[in-house]
Symmetry: C2
Subunit: 163 residues, 2 copies
Amino acid sequence: MATSPHRASTGERINAPDASGKLEKALESRGIRLTRQRRVILQVMDSAERHLDAGSILERAQRIDPGVHRVTVYRTLDLLKKHSLIDELDLLHLRGDQHYYESHGPRDHIHVACLRCGKVREFESRLYEQLKQQIERDFHMKVTLSRTEVGGYCAECLKHVGL
Amino acid sequence: MATSPHRASTGERINAPDASGKLEKALESRGIRLTRQRRVILQVMDSAERHLDAGSILERAQRIDPGVHRVTVYRTLDLLKKHSLIDELDLLHLRGDQHYYESHGPRDHIHVACLRCGKVREFESRLYEQLKQQIERDFHMKVTLSRTEVGGYCAECLKHVGL
DNA sequence: ATAGATGCAAATATTTTGCCGCCAG
DNA sequence: CTGGCGGCAAAATATTTGCATCTAT
């Protein structure tokens, strides 16, 4: 799956985005005020084909509606974080020290990044769920969030480097 | 283990630090110049009882030798990163958006943080190794680094919150 | 009507860079 | 001796905050 001989631009996200307006619906159902600016930002995030940082979200939002302010992007991201509607990622700082965001799906997944071409794939595994359960058992704790980022060299790039 | 009725200050690291001068030896063996400032910074990192960010490393270094400059801390951290002698962590941004550093041990481990008291424990597991192997097989890739950070409520804190 | 959002400017925070004099090997 | 290193200042980047105004509900 997703192993097409496909020349990814740096940072490309492999899995499909969700253009269904999920985030907007989620805020609406919580009775949170939907402003023009928020709708634009949510639309950008829902339809992103890769993980975006605050600056990229701003750029895309302003292409749709130039009257979206940088500060509003940050405040909207905070809002979404508070409601656990998005996850904040670092992607191993491959692209710098800013943060990346993705709307929080139903399942936890691992981000797998190629250090050479920058492709980021998502990976789900029963082993990962078992690992979290093991932590809960061993520490007698309740796990509520987890983040795993893995870096290495993808099949395509291994052909091009002496590893 | 490590479930002492022990009032951890926020950010406390549970596992024991390594005061053996491991980092200094590692640089020496690579023929890298050891300056007075580097020795101090390495000493601070080797003997840290918790994960430190750049600012805290600077503070502690200046307590030992006031002539250590902030920029030198950043440059030394870069040096250590390049040589894979330290790992850069985010600890789920529990304490802010800066980065934390720890000297790279022989084994990968997971950082398990309590969202209430801030304690950070380290966890090793065969499941984690299996998970990375599964990723290598499924994606035909070579995994060279990984980071897992888990957040939740520790046994002690679960007694104090309604969860 | 009004609680809550936005825009703007400025403040913070963190990290990086250019340049030059200095010191470890 | 000399090439890498550290100090300093300034820039670059990223994010947050105070406050006045506006708007979704």
